[in-house]
Symmetry: C2
Subunit: 339 residues, 2 copies
Amino acid sequence: MTQPDNSRPDAEGAELDTVGSVHELAVLERIFPLLPVASAALLGPGDDAAVIAAPDGRFVVTTDMMVHGPDFRFAWSTGHDLGWKAAASNLADVAAMGARPTALVVAIAATRDTPVALLEQIASGLRDACAELAPGCGVVGGDMSVSDTFTLAITAFGDLEGRAPVTRSGARPGDVIALCGDAGVAAAGLRLLFSDAVDADGKPDRARADRLRSEHPDTVGAQLAPCPPISSGVTAALAGATAMLDVSDGLALDARRIAKASGVNLNLHGDRLGSDPEAALRGGEDHALLATFSADAALPSGFRVIGDVTEGTGVTLDGQAIAGVLGWDPYEGWNGKTG
Amino acid sequence: MTQPDNSRPDAEGAELDTVGSVHELAVLERIFPLLPVASAALLGPGDDAAVIAAPDGRFVVTTDMMVHGPDFRFAWSTGHDLGWKAAASNLADVAAMGARPTALVVAIAATRDTPVALLEQIASGLRDACAELAPGCGVVGGDMSVSDTFTLAITAFGDLEGRAPVTRSGARPGDVIALCGDAGVAAAGLRLLFSDAVDADGKPDRARADRLRSEHPDTVGAQLAPCPPISSGVTAALAGATAMLDVSDGLALDARRIAKASGVNLNLHGDRLGSDPEAALRGGEDHALLATFSADAALPSGFRVIGDVTEGTGVTLDGQAIAGVLGWDPYEGWNGKTG
């Protein structure tokens, strides 16, 4: 993957510019050239709305808002991380429908003291994530506001290329359950950040986070700039996936969503969940693709069997009920005062 | 138009519920039934992404974020107002392309103490605005977060029905300039709110705002719950509009945008700008449709001629340059501390 870009612009004056000190137009002029271009854009930014090609006669759409505090902290995430993760998590939702991502729109509400250089980093993160995870996908429009709380809202689009969308409701008894991507790594990274990248008062600390990331680049990186298997959404659809979603809240909770929508039981196999099955079951934010396939389907590259679909309704681990099937949410007790 | 709904739910327990006290799923279960259904939705909420019909093979998209403080205040706006205005302003951007609005996605970041009843009001405002301004358009998906700053992000979609999009760049010398909708009314309403609906310390005051609105329902209502002429976007396109946008920052500034994109001069006629031409020139947020048509075009219903396109680049009033062509921005000095 492309490495996060922590560099700052050379010009000292430009480095000191903030959202509050520079006119909105000047901010946009610096950001626009950094944004990825969408090959599906028939009319891009600059009008009241953009026009996007939807050759399939339908389009897929998902939206997600990231809020400073509960969803990310600048003490831990660079601007590049934030742009990357915002793109990656939305692209994963498009991929989970079996669609090819085509375009994004991005709305940012920044605090007045936000350096324009930080917005440039966010734009670079969006660009690099699109280039790496969904080539051809780009930003077709956006909005820029001022807020006391830094907030980023992404809406992502995809093309089904003539296929039926892969929903959560098509799993049938006898199907196999397969996973593409990590399970539990991003949550382990977040756990590390919460334990080792805070100061004595429990506030997120940049220096400690930088040190932690250099010591555990893969684990912390999985949390701050995840690399979900976007292109595998289309290959899973082509291979006949009967149901699919991206794992954002942990295998146990997300498997239950498929189980509920399909009216079946998803039985996970403990010996297929890696060295720490409990972490795989509870840890969210990896945005792996969890899919079901009929037993005779040839699994596409990257997918591994982790269970089987049975009669019933719910999620089991080796046939046994899983206690407290909820994803781990370290932000549950998040307090705006501590950042 | 449908009147704002200020009623509260009957059940006392439900009235006391807040975003912080009720599980997210329970919040969504109360909001979903209130949201407008989109006739173009092939697959609605409940999956990783929605699927929307785009029979034209293209779709129009615009996004806009509304932040508590700079964009609205709950001391002045009801939840119904906020939902209504968020829908109306986004629908106007779709209409300004000559497209028919089809669907919205809505992301909300609410403070923990936000009453769930307020979210229900927002949903009702979205529903009533769609029903009134763009029948058939509905909400197809969304996201719900927690934030210290109440924030609402809307992304709106439209169908061009086989027509070319009406951009800002098609105005030609000899065209007439026509306007559909109000100019300056919403800004007058905001000016009233800033002068008469604040307490002695300048903080927005709910009781004063309620009184002011009952005294000046049309003017204050134009600011808090505007009614842009959404369906006129399609009729303008059918009538051959050469350029169009929705007036969000004042006639002078928005006319300059068409002038710049088209490489022409837009000459406004002072005697066509109503009783207060200065207010019409500077006042934003009415979301009227400003369009140009060839001189021999039959103007569609609702449009009135307010000027003519000439050689040059810029905006003039009766042939004279307009000093300080910038929209009026009362939030320029907005301070998060005063709400």
